[in-house]
């Protein structure tokens, strides 16, 4: 018997005899023994080392069952005896009734609580040999590894989804949605009660991959004991009755009490738990120690996300309230004037900045209007614009002459900045618009070191208003430029901040937009309504910037539209267009 008996499978070097040979030569006949002519005999005890192959084979990890041509078992190795005690030599292998040995298919099967693999190798004379191996340990190791990998992957997804700051309601919905299906078929999150009411979110598994999420509110007193315990930070252990309770309360749609398993894990918060997560699924997948570990790891991440979300909401509420008071207020409606505005702060997320504009009605029918820019950026600059606007709000009641009003403002600001040691200053254009009988406007303008306004004439000409002056808030009694401009009906005056002309863009992103390009952009736009003109200036500036960083951008356009007898009918139904969006946003 030689290795040539073994077909289809080579056990290794092709020299191994099959176990059915009791006393075979150490080397197969067809293998030429190594020539000893070239080499000196260095191994005189080689014959002694020749192993007893039968003995060796008996100690294979694999058990061997040799059958003859009729399927009668002829040999069973000790390992095979241990794994397959029902296989008896001299009887038909099929009589033993071992499932995995019934046909020629190689593969795994479970026998007497062990995971086995068997493969059949044909031998000479129509005999065959079954190699049977116990793989229980390696399978369970692989399973454990896969399970661990799945848990890590799950937690990575959870970390990814919950790692971003979210709205609290979003975070809660995301927590229950993520728990399904890995942790549960139904997951219920109950947040710690606020004001005696506990909000809950629930995700239930449906046929496809997207779980359905619903939510609601419970009175704090109606919470099951296990949930209430969880909210104090205790993780309940005896939870079997919890399933029935939850099912009875209708918490677990699609799950029956008798055949379900449930667990409760608290979500850690800053001091007390921020909420409690109830996970439930069919009892076919009981919660073992590893599952509970995973649920706890999930709860830790979910708790952190919810805590962050709540913290962020509280902070954002404060910031929003302060922000709203610092946003430019849309100009007050005035007879004969159409206002157009655009505002784009440098820090988009902040939505406030150092540019400002606005208007106030005067008792004589005119309007005082202004646009300016304070030194610095961000919150501090925005706070300063707030002070400045409040000053103007009060001062315009005392003084309606633009030049004198600007000087008053200068003194007031100088006093505040000196008191606070801020050293802030502003540039601005301040004007008074008075409607004329012909539908035009007379603009009296005062300049405080700001860019000169542009005027769009009906002829299509674009004029720069010669307006000079010194910075506001730096020296007492500054030189203030003053000029009067007449706007015929349909003519527009355009005020803008240096965020427009100093916008950097172009080919290399370092060229300033400049006044010439601004003039070119508004040339031919004399028929445009003021809001459209303001938006056009904002748009060409932003196009020039091409997503680059920019300074605060503010635009204020005022157009003489005549007494507007036609328009009054619709004034109630047409919200003031400029800034409708922002208005809605802050109202919301």
């Amino acid at each position: 018997m030689t290795a040539s008996d073994v077909r289809d499978w080579d056990p290794g070097d092709g020299r191994l005899p099959t176990p059915s040979t009791t006393r075979s030569p150490a080397w197969s006949a067809d293998v030429t023994p190594r020539s000893t002519a070239a080499l000196p005999p260095l191994a005189p005890d080689r014959d002694l080392a020749a192993p007893d192959w039968f003995e060796v084979v008996e100690h294979f990890r694999e058990g061997l069952v040799v059958c003859d041509a009729d399927g009668v078992v002829r040999h069973v190795s000790p390992v095979a005896e241990r794994l397959l005690p029902e296989v008896t030599p001299g009887e038909l292998l099929s009589a033993a009734g071992v499932p995995g040995l019934s046909d020629g298919d190689a593969g795994g099967f479970t026998h007497r609580g062990r995971r086995l693999t068997a493969r059949q190798v044909p031998l000479s004379g129509a005999r065959c040999c079954w190699y049977v191996e116990d793989i229980t340990d390696s399978v369970s190791r692989a399973d454990a590894l896969l399970a661990e990998r799945a848990r890590s992957a799950f937690l990575a997804v959870v970390g990814d989804k919950l790692g971003n700051p979210l709205h609290p309601d979003r975070a809660a919905a995301a927590v229950v949605r993520l728990a399904v299906p890995t942790l549960a078929e139904v997951a219920v999150l109950v947040l710690a009660p606020r004001g005696g009411r506990a909000r809950w979110w629930r995700a239930s598994r449906t046929d496809d991959e997207v779980p359905t999420v619903d939510s609601g509110v419970l009175a704090g007193g109606d919470l099951p004991t296990a949930i209430a315990d969880g909210l104090t930070g205790v993780e309940p252990h005896a939870v079997d009755w919890l399933v029935e309770q939850a099912v009875d309360a209708g918490w677990l749609p699609g799950l029956a009490g008798t055949e379900s398993a449930a667990r409760v894990v608290p979500l850690p918060g800053r001091d007390a738990p921020v909420g409690v997560l109830l996970v439930a699924r069919r009892a076919a997948r009981w919660y073992d120690e590893a599952d509970v570990e995973l649920a706890r790891a999930f709860a830790a991440r979910a708790g952190a996300a919810l805590t962050t979300a709540l913290l962020y909401r509280d902070q954002a509420e404060v910031a929003d309230t302060l922000q709203a008071s610092l946003l430019p207020v849309e100009p007050a409606e005035a007879p004969g004037v159409q206002w157009g505005t655009a505002y784009r702060p440098a820090q988009a997320g902040l939505r406030i900045g150092g540019d400002f504009y606005g208007s106030h009605r005067l008792t004589d029918g005119g309007s005082v209007f202004f646009l300016g820019d304070v030194s610095g950026k961000g919150v501090e600059a925005a706070v300063f614009t707030g002070q400045l606007r409040q000053c103007l709000q009060a001062l315009h009641r005392l003084e309606s002459h633009p030049g004198r009003l600007l000087r008053l403002l200068n003194d007031a600001l100088l006093e505040t900045t000196q008191a606070h040691g801020q050293g802030r200053f502003a540039t601005m254009v301040l004007g008074v618009a008075r409607p004329q009988r012909d539908g035009g406007l007379t603009l009296t303008l005062a300049g405080g070191g700001h860019l000169p306004p542009l005027v769009l004439r009906t002829s299509g000409e674009v004029e720069s208003v010669p307006l000079s002056g010194m910075l506001i808030g730096v020296v007492p009694d500054p030189r203030v430029g003053e000029v009067t401009v007449r706007l015929a009906p349909g003519e527009t005056c355009l005020l803008y901040s240096d965020g427009v002309t100093e916008a950097r863009g172009g080919r290399r992103g370092d060229e300033q937009f400049g006044t010439e390009r601004l003039v070119a952009a508004v040339t031919g736009c004399q028929r445009m309504p003021a809001p459209a003109l303001a938006e056009r200036v904002e748009q060409v500036t932003c196009d020039w910037l091409a997503h680059g960083d920019h300074d605060d951008i503010a635009v204020l356009a005022l157009r003489a539209i005549g007494p507007g007898g036609r328009g009054s009918r619709h004034l109630h139904s047409v919200p003031a267009q400029p800034g409708t969006d922002r208005q809605r946003e802050t109202d919301a």
Partner: protein, 345 residues
Amino acid sequence: MTAAMTAVDPTDAYVGYLDCLADADEYAAIDVAIGLLDAGVPAERVLLDLVAPAQAEVGERWARNEWSVAQEHAATHISEQVVAAVAAHANPRPTGGRVVVACMDGEWHALPPRLVAEVLRLRGWQVTFLGASVPAAHLVSYLHRYDAHAVALACALPMRLPHAHRMIEACRRSDVPVVVGGRGFGADGRWARRLGVAWAPNAPAAAELIADERALRGVPPARLTHLADDEYASLVRRRGELIDSALADLRDRVPAARAYSPTQLDATVSDLGHIVDFLAAAVYVDDPSLFTEFVEWLSEILLSRGVPAGAVARPLDHFGVALRDFPRAGRVLALGRAALPAADR
């Protein structure tokens, strides 16, 4: 009272309404719309069958060079006022959750999303319209502050798709589902599918999609593995250099280009920038048809403005040479070149 005011069908009122836009007569335009509402036409039909097609025509007239940019802006402004008046007239009571509607960063075509916003409002959603060119940071901080059921984002120009994608991802990170719309995603929404985001062809479809949260969340993921070749990132890095060299090339070959006025020079730089941006966007979504559609559109626009043939072909040739190490961009350029009208080649 005009004849249009008595019309009871938006399509009958259409011609009169367009005249109001042409005359920049805001109040007459509002009268036409309110007249329809008073005659019992549902507000949604006024918005979608009167305002929307009229606005599309405004865009066409600009493209045919019949209207100036100023006229287009004025007409758009009036349309916005009409939408506001119709919305105020209908004054629906919100019953649903909050939906945020916004234009992508850099995107100024605010009227189509405004119409979507009003249709959603009419259907009971509590809608916040954030307006034109909303920076991603602003949108995200809004979403943190107010829980939104969904975000609807509009993009009219495909060259903004890479930015659009970033914005979509930002919303996703806030765990708010996104629906997108607008011509920027392709006539059939194919680039929305590429970016792995739900797409609606029109306002009613958007409303239906938003009502179906499972459909919103069950979108197949983005297919952007091709970005691993770094061609897009390199194109963006080399944008300035490409424009510079194309301009130099133009001055070498076309003597007239040397005498361009600053305004003409800016316009040329802006056109070259658009070519690079559209090329980069085509490489981003790995679809040459994005670029060929743009090239066809650009040659029509330039033709209607009397720009000589060859104005598009020359920079395409130049970029083809400059980008010979970019196999995907090279293929896009070659296909774009082939799409040019015969006279232009």
